[in-house]
Symmetry: C2
Amino acid sequence: MTHYPDAILKLISSFSTLPGIGRKTAERLALHLLHAPDHEASALAADIIELKRSVRICATCFSLSDQEICRICADPSRDPGVICVVENPADLAAIEKSRSFTGCYHVLGGALSPIDGIGPDDIRLKELFNRADPRKVREIIIATRTNVEGEATAAYIHERLKSRGVTLTRIASGVPMGGDLQYVDPLTLQKAMEKRYDV
Amino acid sequence: MTHYPDAILKLISSFSTLPGIGRKTAERLALHLLHAPDHEASALAADIIELKRSVRICATCFSLSDQEICRICADPSRDPGVICVVENPADLAAIEKSRSFTGCYHVLGGALSPIDGIGPDDIRLKELFNRADPRKVREIIIATRTNVEGEATAAYIHERLKSRGVTLTRIASGVPMGGDLQYVDPLTLQKAMEKRYDV
């Protein structure tokens, strides 16, 4: 690739470090920016810098925020009596997009995974147990992922909080809506059968 | 998406303006940068700024360069007597990657397209005709694309230079190497039959 000037090669390398961006896409992005108006390129660069400067962690729920307390925790229309426990901010974003929840969150920042050396002290479980005060919280919805680590984390939280006097629930598993059964994996179908309900 | 801080939303918007980057990919890239080391994010931002500051156009062939004259034109091992005419720097890069050419280039910066209002004065044809001096140049390889605009541009160049005393050639069209005939479009197959050669 010696036919490109250094500045282009460097930007291609930088873009290539991003997830899902291969060498070819990186090349296309760099050439696009080269021909894009100056203000568009400088806006992108400024936004990257601003991201690292201004984004912090909410002191209450540990989700992403630009204030001491995030917008959801600070919103008086959200019910602080129901806490939904998620692994990370992207999972929180997915639930928010579904518009199915009006309570508050607790972001663990990961899941228990002994094989990766992630134990209870490495994610925000202590902070969750501190928040699980039955005078303030009625229900904790455990919305960790449905893989091995997520299930283990859910089981651990249940074990530690079951006698606290707070209702503990787990988000339902089953066949995705609009899903064709033939494309659903056996484990999910097994779960869907097991959790079947009267209609 | 009000659950994300402004800085994240702004970066997601900026990434979304890039070609082939949808809202979902932009979100993933922004969250990746948020968790990436500071130096990685600032390197990306700096590379974008540097790209716009330092990249210029070669005074001879009009390809991308960081000097007055690009690396290929300045390379004494490249033959300045053979000029390959391409539409843009990405096409030049594709030919360089194939390692099939040791001459120099001429980058038109587009192709003739009356429907888009692009006439002979809007691309660097005048500059090509000025370079086509039979005392310095033996051959001009027309490597514009094989679509309507590229073929029209190739025909125009041929018409203007045919009596100049410089050999004019066009890159071959046909079935791609390793290509299964059933996936090749009829027009390409037609061209491949028409240009068949003795073995």
